[in-house]
């Protein structure tokens, strides 16, 4: 029985990623409504949206190729795969050994590559515009993300996510400049990667400001549901990755099934707080002009690089 625990935990985690992601998205939206003094449709609204979309027919453009039809599944799959390897409710995940942090970044890159292709596939103006912008942001965000993850892996002496989180979780509370800087850089790239304000506005459908929404404008029905769901999971995964890397205390080190409920609770608390932070940032900031985005991400890259340098300079 005990041998099966890791598998069970893995299954729990995948289920959690699948079904808690809309909840997180709903929580963010609800919080945002409250901070802006509106009445929210409730935290469960994303589930209703998804159910509605799944039950609708798909409308496809005549010239849509296989890329367009294939992308939602690939996107969904790659994001779910990413969700399976990040230590969210336990450090001891069997699938975690299959991919390290660099592979994780690559997984997201594949998804993004295909969604950008799909955006251009039908040949509408907005899709192409969204794709080009998305790739610009991606090309700037990727180095910063990699730099951040390198800093953390230098700190943990490994690129394996589980090992990293285990190493950091075993330390007492500490303050190290490289981790502080990596955390700041991570937050900045998180905003860019998950398409939040100030880089992108997830609720807008205004032509000139759309980035992510522009690419998926042609999707409908089941496809749209998958893409939206993947987007919610991405937000969930990124926030829990940040939590796992920078405040891993509370994630169980062993493979005891009994720890899981508590771990889920702690995780939920942390995520709720992070989401509150994101909402505050989104409410307080205005979306920047697209030409300011390189500066924003350049700052993230600089901070991540300085974090890495200060690991060598100050902590050796």
């Amino acid at each position: 029985m005990r041998e099966a625990f890791p598998l069970l935990i893995e299954a729990c985690q995948i289920a959690l990623v699948l079904f808690a992601a809309p909840l997180l998205a709903g929580w963010v939206r609800a919080l945002k409504c409250w901070t802006q003094g509106r009445t929210s449709p409730g935290v469960l609204q994303p589930y209703r949206n998804l159910i509605k979309l799944f039950s609708k027919d798909i409308v496809l453009a005549h010239n849509a190729s296989w890329v367009f039809r294939f992308t939602p599944y690939l996107l969904f799959g790659s994001v779910l795969m990413a969700g399976a390897i990040i230590p969210i409710i336990s450090v001891d995940l069997p699938l975690s050994a299959t991919a390290d942090i660099i592979a994780l970044v690559a997984l997201f890159a594949i998804g993004r590559f295909f969604i950008a292709l799909a955006g251009m596939d039908v040949g509408t103006a907005f899709g192409g515009m969204g794709s080009s912008r998305e790739m610009m942001i991606a090309s700037l965000a990727e180095p910063a993300v990699l730099m951040t993850t390198f800093t953390v892996s230098l700190f943990g002496h490994t690129t394996s996510l589980s090992e990293m989180v285990r190493f950091i979780g075993q330390q007492n509370f500490f303050l190290s400049p490289s981790m502080v800087f990596a955390a700041i850089a991570f937050v900045l790239t998180l905003l860019a990667e998950t398409g939040r304000v100030p880089v992108d506005n997830p609720v807008t459908h205004l032509e000139l400001t759309m980035i992510h929404e522009g690419m998926i404008l042609e999707y409908s029905g089941r496809y749209l549901a998958l893409v939206e769901w993947a987007g919610m999971m991405k937000l969930f995964i990124f926030t829990s990755l940040g939590v796992a890397l920078f405040v891993p205390w509370g994630i169980p080190q062993g493979d005891d099934l009994m720890d899981i409920p508590l771990a889920v609770l702690i995780m939920a608390g942390k995520l709720a707080l992070v989401a509150a932070g994101i909402v505050l940032a989104e409410t307080g900031l205005a979306k920047m002009r697209i030409f300011r985005v390189p500066e924003f991400l350049g700052t993230a890259f600089l901070i991540a690089t300085l974090g890495m340098l200060s690991h060598f300079i100050l902590e050796m």
Binding site: F174, L175, P177, S178, T305, L309, L314
Partner: protein, 221 residues
């Protein structure tokens, strides 16, 4: 590492970050704000070192930094900028990424340069000396890349910040007499800078140092 040592390290990293911020910030108000932050980090870390090492004269140095670098000098510069009506100036910076890369190279260079000291020293702050030297060199870089008088002054003062930081991190500060003398010199220098800015303004009608390239070698003036 003790917790205070960790905080000192984080402050050192913040000083480094502000140096880079100075390098790439275009707006004058932004520069002044970053400069004041740098002074604040410097002062805080000096005070912390004073606390950990039990060196009382460092408190004076920290207080000196706080008054000079966080309050007095930014204020003087602020008044100057307002008086001269140049707060709207945005400096065209060519090639920020290249500047940043050079900056990063300078940081690595100073890390290597200070390696022998790190090995010999036993102080808590020995690792921050590399940051101090980088701050000096980055200030230097800022003075080279900037073409406006006010920004060059800020670069100069940031360079001085680096020196203060170096004194603290290498030796827990120079003897008090020296620190006071140095602070006095900096204050005088800042006033002279102020006078200068007015002189440049009245003789050139601009604070752009690009105007000041008459004394080239070939013309022989």
């Amino acid at each position: 590492m003790t917790f205070t040592a960790q905080i000192i390290n984080v402050l050192a990293a913040c000083i480094l970050l502000t140096s880079f911020g100075l390098l790439v910030q275009r707006r004058i108000y932004g520069l002044l704000r970053i400069f004041a932050w740098q002074g604040l980090f410097l002062s805080a870390s000096t005070a912390l070192v004073a606390y950990t090492a039990g060196m009382n004269h460092l408190y004076i140095s920290a207080a000196l930094t706080l008054t000079l670098k966080v309050v007095v000098l930014p204020y003087i510069l602020y008044v100057l900028v307002n008086r001269l009506n140049i707060y709207r100036d945005v400096e065209p910076l060519v090639n920020i990424p290249a500047t940043m890369l050079i900056g990063i190279v300078l940081v690595i260079f100073s890390y290597h340069l200070t390696a022998p000291i790190r090995e010999l020293s036993t102080l808590v702050t020995r690792t921050t000396l590399a940051v101090a030297l980088s701050t000096v060199l980055l200030g230097f870089l800022m003075m080279i890349t900037r073409k406006k008088a006010v920004t060059q002054i800020i670069g100069f003062l940031a360079l001085e910040n680096g020196l203060f930081f170096a004194a603290t991190s290498a030796t827990y500060g120079m003897p008090l007499v020296i620190e006071l003398g140095v602070a006095l010199d900096i204050l005088i220098a800042a006033f002279i800078f102020g006078i200068f800015i007015f002189q440049i303004r009245t003789t050139f009608d601009s604070l752009d140092l690009k105007e000041m390239e008459k004394l080239k070698e070939h013309e022989g003036a």
